[in-house]
């Protein structure tokens, strides 16, 4: 790891006393490598996070010792796989503080969770003239499924505007809520701006009108403690691969009564009770929504990722990342010509920025040559880019294993890039 050069920079103090980031880093084998001959500085966590050894081991162990299909086997391996898969569901239930494990549906990712709600709850409950509200800082995953539904049903998508800092205009939201509103879809934490939205307030306001709320937790679930009962959200989705688990596994949480009343989406094995050519009856929750063989290894890996995060403590992670975030904001702000896109008061783990005279893609490439991985582009949030009048941004995003030294390396990398592009 590069040594610190800026001795005047603020130090992380309080959180680091209870959180040993250097020990955490030891758990992630990928972080030990060099890229282009430089130590890897991985700052693309909002895209996907790296995996701790325990998750990799759990997935390998499944395939090496008890790979089997679940819910139907009469043999020991199948029994073991079924138990591990269902144990993972229980871990997710507790992680989100859901009331019942039947409220946890395994899907591929947050995107699939939103599409599931749009295609089942949405198609049943939304009709011509109805309205769906989203915000101006949504990821495409929480825009397009609703647009598809609106097109099909003759409904309208309404958009909560945001301030220049990247905060929700709650006053405008209040005005948008009306008797035609059927659903609110809101991002908990913006992937393009880092804004953490006051979702509890958003939900309370919707509920006063009897409108259910879906929370897109793809970015929030791995940065802060989630309590779906305290939030009182009706649906909550997240992706396993951002929560230090594998790709291909995600979660849809839904309140039991809502999920139970929803028609199935995909048909196939495991989601049925009885099948005849005349009439098929469906399985109970959550299996009704889990057609076909699921990503068993992914679910087991996600369960272990949750164990791992619980071991570190979500509150500790949040506190550490909060201080790291403040440190990064300070050192990045000192880079001449750097403009931060998204300066909300409540913000976490994302630095989206432009650098004067430098195309974000060039920045990404020149940082990569220095071993620093960031994302550049539009972050699957074209409307956000349009809102700020930029064609793209560079985005550095934090995970539980990043350090102040890495943020210093980013700053040095930016200076170097600037000098080359000069």
């Amino acid at each position: 790891m590069a040594t610190r050069v800026d001795t005047d920079a603020p130090m992380i103090s309080s959180a680091s006393q209870t959180y040993d980031v250097w020990k955490v880093r030891e758990d992630f084998p990928i972080l030990k490598q060099t890229v282009h001959g430089k130590p890897l500085v991985y700052l693309d966590n909002a895209n996907t996070t790296q995996k701790p050894q325990v998750v990799i081991d759990a997935i390998r162990e499944y395939y090496e010792t008890y790979n089997s299909n679940i819910h139907r086997a009469t043999h020991l391996l199948g029994e073991k796989a079924t138990r591990a898969y269902e144990a993972a569901r229980t871990k997710v239930q507790h992680f989100l503080n859901a009331r019942r494990e039947e409220e946890i549906v395994f899907v591929r990712n947050a995107t699939e969770g939103i599409n599931l709600v749009a295609q089942t709850y949405g198609r049943r409950n939304i009709g011509p003239g109805d309205e769906i509200i989203v915000s101006a800082m949504e990821h495409h995953a929480n825009i397009v499924p609703w647009q598809l539904l609106c097109e099909e049903k003759g409904a309208t998508l309404r958009v909560i505007p945001i301030t220049d800092a990247g905060e929700l205009r709650l006053d405008e939201y209040e005005k948008l809520l009306n008797a035609r509103t059927r659903l609110v879809g809101i991002v908990h934490m913006s992937n393009a701006l880092g804004t953490v939205n006051p979702v509890k307030t958003v939900i309370e306001m919707a509920h006063r009108q009897g409108v259910p709320v879906l929370v897109d937790g793809a970015q929030s679930a791995y940065h802060m403690q989630i309590d779906v009962q305290a939030l009182d959200c009706d649906f909550f989705v997240f992706s396993g691969h951002k929560l230090y688990g594998s790709t291909g596994i995600g979660v849809l949480y839904g309140k039991y009564d809502l999920l139970d009343a929803m028609p199935p989406w995909m048909g196939g094995g495991d989601m049925i009770a009885t099948v005849t050519f005349e009439k098929t009856t469906y399985n109970d929750l959550p299996y009704k929504f889990e057609a076909g063989t699921p990503h068993i290894a992914g679910a087991i890996g996600l369960g272990v990722a949750i164990d791992y995060l619980n071991g570190l403590g979500m509150a500790n992670i949040a506190a550490y990342e909060h201080e790291l975030m403040a440190y990064g904001t300070q050192v990045l702000s000192a880079v001449p010509g750097l403009q931060m896109i998204g300066t909300a008061k409540e913000k976490a783990s994302v630095y989206s920025f432009t650098l004067e005279g430098a195309h974000p893609n060039d920045l990404g490439e020149l940082l990569d040559r220095q071993g620093i991985a960031i994302r550049t582009g539009q972050h699957c949030a074209h409307p956000v880019m349009q809102r700020y009048g930029v064609s793209a941004t560079a985005r550095a995003s934090l995970g539980c294993y990043n350090t102040t030294e890495e943020l210093d390396a980013l700053v040095r990398g930016l200076h170097k890039a600037k000098q080359l592009l000069g």
Partner: protein, 145 residues
């Protein structure tokens, strides 16, 4: 008549070989881009834009005749300094050449020799190949005309 493609290519390869460090190579590439002949702002239209590039790239073909022979030329620009450097490399081996030479030239081989094909991200590569395709398409039209 412009220098032959091989002469141009050799000069580029020699220049790139002078640098041991990645940053010197990039610095040289970016500098090549800076020396590109300017492109008229009015020509930066959607029509002239190459699709498939993450950064914006515009290209206008300017074929003309030299000693009674049709040769290809083009002006291009990008909002990315690195892409401008890549455009400069394309100009070195394509500009002022007869269409047949443009069509048959092994650009992948040159990028390989410059050590660029290994370093270019897949996205950049696709964008660069988009430019090459556009140039070759126009060269083909020119050779038929």
């Amino acid at each position: 008549m412009a220098q032959s493609q091989d002469e141009q290519a050799e000069q580029l390869v020699e220049a790139f070989e002078l640098f041991d460090d990645w940053d010197d190579k990039y610095s040289f590439l970016i500098d090549l881009g800076r020396k590109l002949p300017p492109m008229d702002e009015a020509a930066k239209t959607e029509e002239n834009r190459i699709q498939g590039c993450q950064s914006k790239v515009w290209i206008v073909m300017e074929p003309h005749s030299e000693d009674g022979e049709a040769v290809l030329d083009f002006r291009a620009d990008s909002d990315s300094a690195i892409v401008k450097g890549l455009i400069a490399i394309l100009r070195k081996v394509y500009a002022g050449q007869p269409p047949e030479a443009v069509i048959s030239y092994d650009i992948e081989g040159l990028l390989e020799r410059l050590g660029l094909s290994r370093h270019l991200s897949l996205n950049r590569r696709n964008g660069l190949l988009g430019m090459v395709q556009r140039i070759k398409r126009d060269a083909t039209q020119l050779s038929v005309a």
